[in-house]
Chain length 318, copies 2
């Protein structure tokens, strides 16, 4: 049994080509090749814990991920999200590895799903990337988008000028040109690829500012009560994609839009089906597309396996 | 974060006084002080995996246990059951410890629950302990019963004469007087404390052999399809105790007896209530009592905490 530390994981991550691996996971999920039971949930006074687990049939491992969010941790100087992943042998149940990633792999696999969504749905020429939020996903989404679009121009929205300043400095250091705004409508007016990364419970982006040819990836909302997009945006979209239709039916932007009557479930296609070529993605550069990501255990399975396999062999340049 | 090995756990176990700790867990469970969500389950071709998790309110930790059963492992020279436990800080979600117990703590906490059941329900004078089965629980139940009764006389039933011989030799080495039989009715004819530890799916013990003054602890059946006791046994019992009424309603001997119409749910009392003094246990030496144990996450929580706390301090005799 191998224990892989956060430091080892951080060293392995840049070597991995995660997009095809996570794409294969989504395809497995949408074609019924994945076994992913309902998420386990533990609610505590100061936070909540989610247990995601599952496997791809005829694969080597099954994966259990335990992830937590404790929102007062920031005041203690601790990260608010945390977690680890466990890999077990499908044939014998033996524990193969413990990945002490502290939630890092969840952040990364979420950002990779954003890049995959953009790869299949973003307009050919991305003018400017609009980012709603200034947190970890607001950073990672932009970094992973750089693997699927040459655009390095970013417009970030946040409520706090101070956080926007830090965001701009950090992201400029990574090679992006960053402008900031405290007016969310600017994102829809000036960007044709927008990624939403806040825990908002009321819409921040309004349909009236949405221009033809825009793609939006909605990352922030993963519960029934969170919402970043006005339901009318999904109503106007030519293509609406969910990472998991069964999850998005009751949560995320799609859940909100269905509840509001702006969207019908049968008009939603699943990301894995789109990748597999079963669904119709963007047809032309005028279409509006929305991808709603709530997180699926196949992403965890795929990234956990990749880290474990890499941890077993010396790095390429040794 | 501390990783505690199987070897360390085996060294700590004999030092622990587990009965009061597990009793406190059952009381917490029955008085609503425990948060124990439904068990997560993952079914694979060669085995199944269960994820039990929960916490006691205002306690220091929450616990996640992952346990597996892969029944062909024996042919590979591997244990059929396996598992580990994880402790996290209730206040921050930080991982406090990984207990690599390989399923040992599940076996032990199950045996301790058997001893607790006997402590509250067995007749004053135990003539002979009857054991159905020759596996790990058939051994541990007898060992932990020795902490609550002076009786060292055991009659073991099994289907295989060879396994019975090994069982007798092993348990005699531990100081018990062991007789064996391949006729299960002998257990009810000659023992007044019987523990059933097989994965049978058809009753092995029949009501017609049951004598007044007997206590039976049913350990083997923990699913809706397993059954070791004829339903009429529970119908005849003066006291029927469940470790968890919500679990036993649909699984174990109680589930079978309710389905057969031999027992009503309102006649079942919970083990934690009995310990707490809220339910009526054995009144006299002629009563028949049955305890049905299906396993509750509070047992895992309590034993995991005890191991972790002990692992932090040097052993007493150092």
């Amino acid at each position: 049994m191998k224990i892989v530390s956060r430091q080892e994981i951080d060293a392995i991550l840049p070597e991995l080509d995660l997009i095809p691996l996570i794409e294969a996971g989504f395809v497995g999920y949408s074609t019924g090749w994945a076994v992913v039971p309902p998420v386990g949930e533990l609610l505590l006074d100061g936070g909540d814990v989610h247990i995601k687990y599952g496997y791809l049939r005829q694969d080597d491992y099954y994966v259990v991920k335990i992830a937590s969010g404790f929102y007062d941790n920031a005041t203690l100087g601790l990260p608010t999200s945390n977690g680890l992943m466990l890999l077990f042998e499908q044939r014998t149940g033996e524990l193969a590895a413990i990945l002490l990633d502290e939630g890092r792999l969840t952040d990364i696999r979420t950002a990779v799903a954003g890049a995959i969504s953009a790869k299949y749905l973003a307009p050919e020429r991305v003018e400017r990337i609009g980012i709603l939020g200034t947190g970890i996903q607001a950073r990672l989404q932009v970094e992973y988008l750089a693997t699927v679009t040459p655009c390095r121009s970013v417009l970030a929205w946040g409520r706090s000028a101070a956080k926007l300043d830090v965001y701009r400095a950090d992201m400029e250091e990574k090679g992006f040109e960053v402008e900031t705004t405290e007016d969310a409508s600017e994102l829809l007016k000036r960007c044709n690829l927008v990624v939403t990364c806040t825990p908002a419970t009321r819409p921040l982006l309004e349909s009236r500012y949405l221009r033809p040819g825009t793609h939006i990836t909605a990352v922030g909302s993963d519960t029934p009560d969170k919402q970043e997009l006005e339901a009318a945006i999904l109503g106007r979209a030519d293509v609406v994609v969910a990472d998991s239709i069964s999850q998005c039916r009751i949560r995320g932007e799609i859940g909100q839009a269905i509840m509001a009557g702006s969207l019908q479930e049968e008009d939603v296609i699943e990301l894995g089906a789109l990748i597999y070529g079963e669904g119709q993605g963007r047809n032309n550069q005028k279409q509006i597309t929305v991808a709603d990501l709530t997180g699926v255990a196949v992403q965890d399975i795929q990234i956990a396996k990749a880290i474990y396999e890499s941890s077993k062999t010396p790095t390429e340049d040794m």
